[in-house]
Structure formats: C-alpha cells, structure tokens
Symmetry: C2
Subunit: 334 residues, 2 copies
C-alpha cells in the first residue's frame, strides 16, 4: 500500500514547484507549453490522481449541486434529473441526488445531509417544506431552485407550473364532452402536495362549471401508481358506475383505473371517461390511449440549469420565476 502521489511528488520529479504543477494540470495559460508537457507526462507516468477533495476544501467549492426528488421511479422526475445532469456536465458540476419518497420528514433529513456536503446550489422538487427545512436552507445561504411547482412564497428561484391551473383544461374538456359526475383519484391527504394541488384545481374548475360535488377517491399514501388506481376502483366495485369521468392524479394511476374498469366489463370512454397527468409512456400505449397533460420534464431540468448558470455568472440574486408550459394530449379514453 504505497502512499498517495501528490503534486509535490510530481513537482520533485520534474524539478519544479508544486504551484506550477497545480497550474499546469489546470491548464492555466501562464504555464509554458514545454513545462506543461513535461508535467502532464510525469503525472501520467507516476499514476498521479488529482484530489478533488483537497481542491474542494481549499477553494471552498464542492462542485456539487444537490437535488431532491420525491421518487426516482417516475419517468418525469427521471427525465428532469437526466436533463439536469446532461446540461450540468459542461460546467463540471456534479449532482448529489436524494429521494424524499414524498415525505416532508424525509426531506428535512435529506436536506440536512446534503447541506453538510457544501453544495453550491440546492434544487428541490416542490414548493412545500417543513419549517426546519426552510430554516436550514436559509441559514446555508446558497442559491435555491424549487421546481415542478409554482409556490406563493418561494425560497429562491422557481421553475415549474401551477399544478392546480394545469387541471383546468382537463375539466373543461370533460364538460365539453358532456361529462358531469366527476371523481378525482389521488393520494391520501397530506402525502403528495402537487397531487393535492391538482385535486384542488379540479374541484375549483368543477365549481366554476356548476358541476355536482366532485367525489374524492383515496388511492392511499403517496407514491400512488398503477396498482393503487386499480385497487381503489376494485374497492368501489359497481359504485363506480355512478360517475361518468375519472380524473386521475397521474397516468399510472389512470392506467390502473382503466384496467380495473375494463376488468369489470365497463367500456372506456362510452361508460366512463378516464384522464391522467404527466404524459407517461403508458398513456400512449394503453388501449384506449389516455387523455393526459404533458409537462416537459426535460425542459424543467434545462431551465433549472439555465437559472443556475445565471446565478453563478452574474451573482445577481433576483429570484427567477420560469413557468413552463403544459399541453393537453387527447387520447381515446375521453
């Protein structure tokens, strides 16, 4: 177990100072070509490995951007993460990822853990956090972006959309196609804030249209997916026939509902309409295809990087507020 090769060792070999080695390895233009060549060659030969930890310590810059996501197993969040990491690559920043599993409690713990790593920025999914989390973040005094949401009192920058408003076109469309007895299928109260906003958006839109009270079907605590949609409908059994449209919090839930309804022999959309949210792959592949709302998950990631770029460059801290678009996708389920 030989000791680590450091810049000092490389310097000694080429007969120069560690400082010059440092500059050479960082492509500092003040180093002469010959020197640089000699140094890189020596470094290679000695098996020198650059010590990011020491750099991070010395410069007080970790090179990390911390990100929280409610869940990894979600095509939309995964896509946001991917575009984030792709676009961040050129900047040399690394993503430090954590998953909250839709729990405000877990988020607090996670944020604490992430902040201990001195990230240069923090990207949170959603605009709802515990007071402690907010305090921690404020004390850390680092750039913050909240995404996938459009909170009233943001912690910093925002890249997202109003989950409530996003439901309006869906309800409008259902009403236009003659549906009146709506039910909303989503996660239990308090477990998924964006889902709750979507629910409120549906209730509000229904009120505006003068529809009868929308029934809330609880699919269980978040994350809710296909199986929870299916189970919720199976629990209701024939009672489901009293509704003429099921507005679901997400496409996987909608697909679960669709499947359960079909197993019961109901015809979609003739007997009952079903809508989803998020333009997941399953919405396009199911029979019939599910009417849904597309949110450009990739664009959210890219916009976040662009916001961060502005923050790092200008050091201006005027909070940005990027409202990304949504597009309704019509399927055969309505």
């Amino acid at each position: 177990m030989s000791a680590r090769v450091t810049m000092r060792d490389v310097a000694r070999l080429v007969g120069m100072s560690p400082m010059t080695v440092s500059r050479a390895l960082r492509d500092d233009p003040t180093v002469s070509k010959t020197t640089r060549a000699k140094i890189t060659q020596a470094a290679q030969q000695m098996g020198y490995v650059y010590d990011t930890t020491a750099q991070a310590f010395r410069t007080q810059k970790s090179g990390f951007v911390a990100v929280t996501l409610p869940s990894l197993n979600n095509a939309n969040f995964a896509e946001t993460f991917r575009s984030l990491s792709d676009d961040l690559e050129t900047t040399g920043l690394q993503l430090l990822l954590g998953s909250t599993n839709y729990s405000v409690q877990k988020e607090e713990q996670l944020v604490r853990q992430l902040l201990a790593r001195n990230p240069e920025a923090l990207v949170l999914t959603g605009g709802f956090h515990s007071q402690t989390t907010r305090d921690l973040i404020k004390a850390a005094a680092l750039p913050v972006v909240e995404m996938w949401d459009l909170p009233e009192n943001p912690l910093g920058h925002i890249v997202g959309f109003s989950n409530a408003d996003a439901m309006t076109p869906i309800v409008d469309h259902l009403v236009q196609t003659g549906r009146r007895k709506l039910a909303f299928v989503g996660a239990s109260e308090g477990s998924d804030m964006r889902g709750a906003e979507r629910r409120e958006g549906v209730l509000e839109a229904a009120r505006r249209h003068g529809l009868p009270k929308v029934t809330i079907i609880d699919a269980g605590p978040a994350p809710v997916s296909m199986r929870h949609g299916l189970a919720a409908i199976e629990r209701l059994s024939r009672e489901i026939a009293q509704f003429d449209a099921l507005v679901c919090v997400s496409d996987p839930v909608a697909f679960g509902c669709l499947s359960a309804l079909q197993r019961m022999g109901l015809r979609i959309p003739d007997d009952i309409a079903v809508t989803g949210f998020g333009h997941f792959e399953v919405a396009k592949i199911s029979n019939p295809q599910i009417t849904t709302m597309n949110v450009e998950a990739g664009r959210i990631g890219r916009e976040v990087v662009s916001v961060l770029g502005g923050v790092f460059d200008n050091a201006t801290n005027t909070p940005m507020r990027v409202d990304v678009g949504r597009t309704m996708i019509h399927g055969g389920s309505t």
Copy 2:
C-alpha cells in the same frame, strides 16, 4: 455575507478548545455530559454547520459510495437504489449516483467522474465494461461490487444472477404449453448487455428443446421500453402471426407488444403468447397479466450493502459472490 462558523468559533464561545468541540459533536464518549450539552447548544445557536468536506480531506475518507445505474427510470433499478440508500443510511455513507444510459462509453466517462471524488467503494450495474473503465477501476484500488449480473471475470464482488439462466424457466414453460415458434424482442445488438445475455439464454434453451430457430426482433437501441415494443410489432404487422410466442427482454417491452397485438385484433394468449421480465408493475395491471420473471431488486441493494459492510469491517478482500433468486410469475399472457 458573513464568514463561515467553524469549530474554532464555537470553541471560543464556550471557552474550550476546538478539539473538544470536535469530540463533542461526534459524540465521543470521553467528553463530559455537561461539556457536550454546552457545546451542542452553542453550535445550534451559532448556526454551526459541520463541514464534511474538511472532514473528508483530513481523514482521507470521502464518505461516498459511487453507484452507476443504466437508467433511473426503471422500477427495478430505482428499487435497488432505494434499498441501497436506505440500508447505507445507518453507516453515514452517501450515495453518489450516475446514470450510464446503457452506454459503455458513457459509463467510462461516468466512472472517471465518480472516481475523482474518492469514493470508498464503487457499485456498478452489470459485468461488462470497457477496458479503460476496468483499468481506471483497478488503478483506484477500491472495493468494487458488480450487480444485476454474474460475470465470469468479475472486478471484485458480485451480487446478481445469470441473466441467461433466468430465461430457461420461461422457455420451458412456453414449450410445456405447446409453443414452438418463438421470437425474442429486445434491444439492438451491443446496446444492452444484460438483455443480450437474456437473448442468448433463450436461444440456448430453445436449442435444448429442439425448437426451430428463434427469430430476433430488434426493438432499437437501449433503453427499450413500451413504445419500442409496440413499434417493433407494428413494423412487422401481420408477419407476427407466424410466431406463437413472443419472449420479451422486459415487461415494459412485453406490454408494448401486447398492446400492439391487441390493436391488430390478435387474442392473447390464444393467438400468441407474450412473456416479459422483471416483474414490473405493468405486468400485473395489464389485461391479460403478463407472465414474467421476478428478480428481487430490493434484495440486490441490501445484499450489496451487506457485502460492503463485510469489506469495510474485516478489510478482508476475498471476493463475494451472491446469487439472488428469481421466481417465475404466471400471468394470463401465456
């Protein structure tokens, strides 16, 4: 912009040495109860945040475990990651995650990036890597676990299963139920190594049974999902009727195929059988349910942590080899 609060500052406030503060904050039992209480209280009040970077630098331990996954948007890999991070939590280690997007090229770049952070261990998905990647890893001389595979020449420890062998029960089952003209639907050659192994497993099993040559249906470069399965079948159109069973590389692909077949008016399993792999949610929700092979993704993560625990504790480096089980799940699609 006030300067960072350090242990020195906390020490000054309570009239003790930084050393005692360090010990108190790490719950060193040699610190008296009163002192600890005073220190933690002062730290809290001053908004002290522990500097992990400095600690990592000083102790030469990053506290990181690096993990590569082919894709985040995959219920199985997401589950493995979740169990990994859950089980690692008690050890105080942080996961540093990167996604290779099923590219050996990208993996190389990613491994380089991750190794620069001095992780204490490296967890890779799959047993196939570029020579450069292998060299990089060997030079780094850190504990390595390859998972989701059972390579012949592992880099270190293994937690996985043979993707080829895992297909045998599926082919056996198809043969037993009278199917003989099989096609395999998967990603293009060279883009998904575990998928390729599954394909070889199917070919081999078919040979053993004396079946006619299995047709390979190329669903495009990895990652392949629902839409690729659907598109592949749509491209073949009525030619698909020559097969009596479609063996798919994964459940999402199988669901795409199933959906395409149903859109063409074929009946599953009467006209053609469909099998998947991975026991994804969609296999249980689709109509009919898809016959699949369950791999305990969560268990893989837990076993990896257990292997790492052994490595860190004993410092013994005898390579472990954990073969996790698989269970066939029968659905109505066969």
